[in-house]
């Protein structure tokens, strides 16, 4: 039958093309792409140890040697995602395979990689690492938790102010390089946005889909549940949990996700209520197709578009929640985070502009990018709006 196959644009491809037509969305996607790159390759971008060095003819890679479990797992997941993207299977298969691959990677990493428990960054500036034949250092030769004590760093130095060492964005109160911390903080911002929204999306689609398809009593109970969850103030709940159970990034993700699904559920419900009456859904019922096919093949893809818009705004909201919490001093302690850096900027007795501008700018750009993407999606989905506003034409 191959001679009949004509390459034609699918609905999804059309939406995607229209989304990409705007200028704003390109800026947004470029920024998010940069963040992903920084998050995945953080240990190779900013680290105190050499990437590669040769000593007495023996070549070694200290970065790989000191790679933490988390670093290795993130790298593995990234490459699995890349391979899947090249494979061109269905969207559902992509997600399933990615989750599976990522889980296997996590197990393998835990079994096989045994990084040194203690890392003393000062050592990398000692003779063992400096007196070598040649070495390649990362672009930013400071780890985020390297407080440069051996160099006598006083902390809170403005960009380019310290002698002998270049700190592009200055140093923070403990003397660590701000740019390095900024790069490593991408991970928290990205992961909290994606995972919290992912949890919310999953609950929202299931609850909303059931409410919309079955309507009646299911719908009534579901809507009451939605209303209950809408009334929970997420920030105060987070504060309470932090007070009782201590600080944990994963707890934050779960709480933001579990309280944030009600909006998605409303979207899906409305779409499904509308789609249920569409003739093609009725035709699918009349054709005797199984319920799973009706729900997930005939209804969900047609109702998913407004959801994507909501998700991109939701990701921005989750990032802001984490930043707020860190700013209040209740975020994660050991890992760097943009909100926590802002907190340091405020608490310091003098105003150190570089401590406020860079993390603040990064938060602003990230939230702004997601909003740009979301808005562009919305315009692409609503053909009438996109034509009138002249955004995508």
């Amino acid at each position: 039958m191959t001679e009949y196959i004509v390459s034609r644009e699918s609905f999804a491809a059309r939406i995607w093309r229209k989304t990409l037509e705007g200028v704003g969305v390109k800026v947004g996607l470029a920024w998010v792409g940069l963040l992903i790159f920084a998050a995945v390759f953080a240990p190779f971008l900013a680290n105190s140890m050499p990437l590669l060095m040769s000593k007495n003819g023996e070549i070694s890679a200290p970065v790989l040697h000191y790679l933490s479990l988390e670093d290795a797992w993130i790298l593995a997941s990234f490459f699995i995602a890349l391979i899947l993207y090249r494979l061109r299977l269905g969207a559902a298969k992509h997600i399933l395979l990615f989750l599976l691959g990522s889980a296997i990677a996590a197990v393998l990493v835990n079994v096989f990689i045994k990084p040194p428990v203690l890392v003393i960054y000062d050592d990398f500036r000692s003779a063992a690492y400096t007196e070598v034949d040649w070495r390649i250092m990362p672009p930013i030769p400071y780890a985020p938790t390297d407080y440069l004590r051996d160099l006598g760093s006083k902390g809170l130095e403005a960009p380019f102010a310290s002698e002998g060492h270049t700190h592009l964005m200055g140093t923070e109160e403990n003397g660590a390089d701000v740019l390095s911390r900024m790069i490593h903080a991408c991970r928290i911002s990205l992961s909290i946005g994606l995972i919290a929204s992912g949890i919310a999306l999953l609950i929202g689609v299931v609850v909303g889909g059931l409410m919309g398809y079955f309507s009646g009593i299911v719908d009534m109970l579901g809507m009451r549940l939605v209303e209950i969850f809408e009334d929970i103030p997420t920030l105060f709940l987070l504060l309470t949990f932090v007070a009782f159970f201590g600080r944990s990034l994963y707890m934050m993700m779960v709480i933001i996700g579990v309280t944030g699904w009600s909006g998605y559920a409303r979207y899906v419900r409305t779409e499904f209520l509308k789609l249920r009456k569409q003739d093609y859904v009725q035709a699918a019922v009349a054709g005797g197709l199984p319920l799973s096919s009706i729900l997930f093949r005939h209804m969900l893809p047609n109702g998913v578009a407004p959801l994507l818009v909501a998700v991109s705004f939701g990701v921005a909201g989750a990032i802001l929640s984490e930043a707020t919490l860190s700013f209040l001093g209740l975020g994660v302690v050991d890992a760097p985070s943009w909100g926590q850096m802002l907190d340091q900027a405020v608490k310091s007795s003098t105003f150190n502009w570089w401590m406020a501008v860079f993390p603040g700018g990064a938060i602003f750009m990230t939230v702004f990018s997601y909003n740009l993407i979301g808005e562009s999606f919305r315009d692409a989905i609503d053909p009438k709006l996109s034509r009138e506003a002249g955004v995508n034409t």
Partner: protein, 547 residues
């Protein structure tokens, strides 16, 4: 010059859409004498509505432009007027009524307020009491019963026909010289349409105004018009007096349009022959037996949603559909004909009663038990926009039901079958690899039919499948249906409100009114010698082409 109220000369209207220029109206000329009705006919997209909107200058400036032409109204060129100038003409001298009575009135204002506002706008000196007086008179003029009592009613309290009357009253309140009516009866039932048309003719006689009447229905043209203009793709292909154009059409396109009307379509000879041979077959057990079928929808109110009553959509319907026949189900909107059709294919759960297909009971079965029976009966829908899943290839839409029901050994075989199906509805085989948005309305309806045929059913419910189509496309689909019926010995329940289609297509006719069947029998008999008063009224209301 004096007797011509409106004269349009070489008018062009170009619309900007997506950076392209569409020549919606392309150099048309016509004139309307004082006191006459001029009908513009044409298929959708022919530019008739754009012509009307150009005359009253309702097209947005940024989108529409008039590269050429003049619109002379009482000798003044409307195109040269500035905004205040055209506003003075609009409403007071030229009024317009629209197609959709449900959305053309403001739902939060009473009908009285809406008419008095229009009145006082054009007669600023009029007092409230005077305006109210005039409004009630206008409502009486359009024969709204108890006009003074309805002054304070909101639009939702009126039926569709009454709303259209209010619209006419509003348009006529300022006594315009020209009334533009854009498909004013298309959204109405045929009996209501007949009343509105009668009313409009009477008002036109009384007031001596002129009318620019836009329609796609030649039956309406025959009833209303003194002059007819036929439009095709923005051009006026034929203008003349009504009787001349309808009796002796000069242009090929007009002839083609008239020939496509169901009452003018020639029945294929073979089908007629087959009908005769089939006569004895009726004695056999009917394919489908419906007994005392009720579909009631509960009306729920209050906090606990308790049932306070029922909408009796289908009420004690008993009907036999013989094998191999086309049974037409007619009735006005809201009479329950669509609900009956959907209940038959088990898309609506009947409240009580029984439906048997080949002796097999359908009601009360679970979804699982019903699945094998779904093969036997399929449905095709009215709206070409929503009948196909926009996300799926035509190939997927057609092969998925086959897969579920185990038709075809593998996907290749099913694709082959689907390809053949497309050919049988006169589409190309490689349309399989396209998405629904790449097709026209008529093509989508064909694909919808092909989908109904995928499971090789005995019986198909066709729910108004030609209502949304232009008359020439409708003719093609009707001919296609007859040929498919002949090839596959199909049984059809054809739901429609178009009597012309019924007469052309069906063997038997069933008339529904308020959820009940009021008359059924051979089409010939029902249409020629209707027994029930409702059927008689319905048939009398159908606008016929006979001038």
């Amino acid at each position: 010059m004096n007797d011509r109220l409106l004269e349009v000369r070489n008018l062009s209207t170009y619309l900007q859409a997506d950076g392209r220029e569409v020549r919606a109206v392309d150099g048309i000329s016509f004139s309307i004498p004082k006191g006459d009705i001029f009908c513009l006919v044409g298929e959708s997209g022919s530019g008739k509505s754009v012509t009307a909107l150009s005359v009253i200058r309702l097209l947005p400036d940024g989108i529409a432009s008039h590269p050429s032409g003049e619109i002379l109204f009482n000798g003044h060129d409307l195109l040269k007027l500035d905004d205040p100038g055209i506003r003075a003409v609009r409403g007071s001298q030229i009024a317009m009524i629209f197609q959709e009575p449900m959305t053309s009135l403001n739902p939060v204002l009473t009908i009285g307020e809406q008419i008095t506002e229009a009145l006082q706008l054009h007669h600023p000196t009029m007092t409230d009491a005077e305006a109210e007086q005039r409004t009630i008179m206008a409502l009486e003029q359009v024969q709204i019963p108890h006009a003074s009592g309805r002054f304070r009613d909101y639009p939702h309290q009126l039926s569709g026909g009454q709303r259209q009357r209010v619209m006419i009253a509003m348009a006529l309140a300022c006594e315009p010289q020209l009334l533009i009516a854009d498909e004013p009866t298309t959204a109405l039932d045929v009996t209501v349409q007949a009343e509105i048309l009668r009313l409009m003719r009477k008002l036109q006689d009384d007031t001596g105004m002129s009318m620019l009447f836009i329609t796609h229905d030649f039956g309406v043209v025959a009833q209303m018009a003194q002059w007819v203009g036929v439009m095709q793709q923005g051009k006026m292909v034929e203008v003349g007096s009504c009787s001349e154009v309808l009796r002796k059409p000069q242009h090929a396109y007009t002839r083609q349009l008239l020939a496509a009307l169901p009452e003018n379509l020639a029945k294929p000879v073979s089908v007629q022959a087959q009908q005769i041979t089939q006569e004895p077959a009726i004695a056999q057990t009917p394919l489908l037996q419906i007994r005392d079928l009720k579909v009631w929808f509960p009306i729920k109110k209050g906090l606990f949603r308790h049932t306070v009553g029922y909408v009796r959509a289908v009420d004690e319907v008993t009907l036999d559909i013989p094998q191999g026949q086309i049974v037409a189900l007619v009735g006005e909107s809201g009479c329950g004909k669509t609900t009956l059709g959907r209940a038959v294919v088990q898309l609506e759960k009947p409240t009580s009663g029984s439906i048997r297909i080949q002796g097999q009971e359908l009601t009360g079965l679970s979804a699982r038990e019903l699945r094998p029976l779904r093969r036997k009966m399929q449905i095709a829908f009215q709206d070409p926009q929503s009948s196909l899943n926009p996300r799926l290839l035509i190939e997927t839409t057609l092969t998925e039901p086959m897969k579920v029901h185990g038709i075809g050994a593998n996907q290749e075989e099913r694709i082959e079958l689907a390809g053949r199906l497309l050919e049988s509805v006169q589409l190309k085989r490689d349309f399989l690899w396209r998405y629904p948005h790449e097709f026209s309305g008529g093509q989508r309806q064909r694909i919808g039919l092909a989908r109904a045929l995928t499971l090789n059913p005995e019986f198909i419910v066709c729910d108004e499948i030609t209502s949304a189509l232009d008359v020439s496309v409708q003719a093609e689909i009707l001919q296609l249906l007859l040929s498919i019926r002949q090839q596959r010995n199909l049984t059809l329940l054809f739901i429609t409100h178009n009597i012309g289609v019924v007469e052309y297509l069906s063997d038997r006719t069933v008339v529904m009114y308020k959820g009940k069947i009021v008359e059924q029998g051979e089409t010939e008999q029902v249409c020629k010698r209707p027994q029930h008063p409702y059927t008689q009224e319905l048939l009398a209301a159908v606008p016929r082409l006979t001038v």
